[in-house]
Symmetry: C2
Subunit: 354 residues, 2 copies
DNA sequence: ACGCGGAGTGAGAGCGCTCCCACAATCTAT
DNA sequence: ATAGATTGTGGGAGCGCTCTCACTCCGCGT
């Protein structure tokens, strides 16, 4: 405790402004908070003084009495590696959140849960110390230690994906992963693919779980049985796609649907290395429509999802929740769009698969 | 002002803990703050009560008196588009910062300056309202409106790149861009390239400025004059590389050094479209060593920089500054490493350029 | 002429914490 | 035994704000 800081220079307070403007602390407070019952003359005088000497209210003091901080938290509890597996997704989501938060004059606090962190400490810092008015939880791993902590907490929370069942009372913004993925697989089936393998995302994550469910449901009623040996566990990373493709090739697939573009790029890496022609021999699809998806060779057929909006809507929902704005629905599903490029073989002359 | 929140349920205070433990507010405070002059018996008793009923100090109240919040800010004042031009860089930097900040029991506040933001409001929210103890400024555009505001502010600031001259009194963590870039160009010269074009980064940014300077200095004394028509203005984006390559090809270059990998990928896109063989006809290099750099075809020769560490060191420096730890140097340059892959032609049989 | 209500303002209390000083109890030196 | 230092503890003050209540001043109706 040997810090000797520069606290000597006391910051300006309401009282100081009041003294200079010839009014009381209370009146200055009213002006600052736009209370209508201040005469326009005093208001002008006070505003002038504030402008002149550059006063800004002390938010800690305000928070102490109002119990609100005008700050929301963003928690990324996934193992950090995953953030880099999806290099576009997180910045975009963060951007969506931040722009709404800025516009509504809040600030954003960011926590990334690292494996080595003591969940209890993190939890205390985030939830208990009353530093934030609400929390956006991004890319939740269902195994995250924070989940049980969250269950009984009295704090506004919005998820950017479907949370595990025990937390479903909270609001969330997501996309219809299962439906979008089903469409992707059906698209391949329509193109004549018969033996479709898949590499999943991190299966502790809702997006990954739902996408696999979509894969499965696409097969229903087609006569093609669900074959677990064609489902390879991945983690959204390029490497996981790469390795899965090696395995799937030995199992004779004619198509590989990857849980996201990043993994699909890994699949392409492997297939090109193995000399398998895409899409002629094996069709490949991704998910997300990363910028890179248009530049791969062949260009990736994928599903575009509105990542920015996913963040923005979550932030909106959270701020409305905090400010007591009623919503008819607390569960938002954003639309997605199938983007057909070369890698699925749709552009091949007729049904030439195989 | 119609929020009806749940503030009725008063949070626990030091006084409450004291009452339950049979001691005073002051003693509890001492225990919480690890003050040695508490008998071990009382300390144990107090800790037990705290544990039992789950008390956490109110940070706003503490901040009000200590003038410190245990929170640092991270400001990304660059036009946001740029964040997505470098999808790996920002998450990695943020990760580096966050892990140090977490480990030292601080929290992170994140602001992204959007073009539409009123710089004054942002400035107030960040600097004036005393919400943070220090600030890391990431990827500063020298044209950012916030700069002049920053000049006279009394707040610990660390930059993750060299700031403009008027802010150089602040600490920063960077890499030796000029030297690394010079090595890259010299490497190409050594391989026999004679007419080397370059696409710059956003020239309001130090990294970009320094890299161009390195390009220029590599040419000094080689007999090859600096030719401004071979220098195309870019902005670190893939598109800017793509367009620059089109121009440079018409000017007959035998090598293109891009300001970063992202732009280099754009260069590769263009050259492959134009049917120019890389590296045989035109060598290409990048900067950053993104994961994608190893996967392009041909794989990119580039410079690896320790992005994570760049963030981590900046955070370290800042926290030390805040806590009054003395440093002999406030300006850190991290080492970089030339990564030679296929795209520069080093693996070509002898000097076969052209 | 009187009271009455509304508009505008000021002052007190208190949010939960830290810091400082006062004090009691114990321990040491003479 | 008594003064002095030492250890542990409690209570007051105050950080800068908001909130509530009380007060003054005015114009109004009767």
């Amino acid at each position: 405790m040997s810090h000797k800081f520069l606290n000597d220079k006391r910051a300006l307070s309401l009282e100081d402004i009041g003294a200079r403007a010839g009014v009381s602390r209370s009146t200055v407070s009213r002006v600052v908070n736009n209370d209508p019952k201040v005469s326009s003359a005093t208001r002008a005088k006070v505003l002038q003084v504030i402008e002149e000497i550059g006063y800004t209210p002390n938010l800690a003091a305000r928070a102490l009495v109002t119990k609100r901080t005008q700050v929301i938290g963003v928690l990324i509890p996934q193992r950090l590696s995953t953030i880099f597996n999806e290099p576009y997704y997180f910045p975009a989501l963060l951007h969506g959140i931040a722009s709404v938060v800025n516009a509504r004059d809040y600030s954003t606090m960011l926590w990334v849960e690292e494996d080595k962190d003591d969940p209890r400490r993190l939890y205390e810092r985030i939830i208990m110390n009353r530093l934030i008015d609400g929390l956006v939880i991004v890319s939740l791993s269902h195994k995250s230690a924070i989940i049980e902590k969250l269950a009984h907490v009295d704090l506004s929370i919005v998820f950017t994906e479907r949370p595990p069942r025990e937390l479903e009372r909270h609001a969330y913004v997501s996309i219809d992963n299962a439906d979008a993925f089903r469409q992707l697989v059906q698209h391949l089936l329509r193109l004549g693919r018969k033996r479709i393998g898949t590499v999943t995302g991190d299966m502790t994550n809702s997006d990954a779980i739902e996408r696999l469910a979509g894969y499965r449901s696409a097969l229903d009623g087609t006569g093609i049985p669900y074959d677990p040996s064609l489902v390879i566990d991945g983690d959204f990373s390029r490497q996981s796609g790469y390795h899965a493709a090696h395995t799937l090739v030995t199992r004779g697939v004619d198509a590989i649907v990857a849980a996201n573009d990043q993994a699909a790029l890994g699949v392409l890496d492997a297939l090109s290395e193995l000399g398998r022609c895409v899409p002629d021999e094996i069709a490949v699809t991704g998910f997300d429509d990363l910028p890179a998806a248009a530049h791969s060779s062949p260009a990736l057929t994928t599903v575009r999802q509105p990542v920015l909006e996913r963040g923005a809507r979550a932030a909106q929902l959270l701020l409305d929740l905090i400010e007591g704005v009623e919503h008819n629905t607390r569960h938002v599903l954003l639309p997605t769009e199938l983007v057909v490029r070369m890698s699925c073989g749709a552009h091949l002359p007729s049904g030439t698969a195989r």
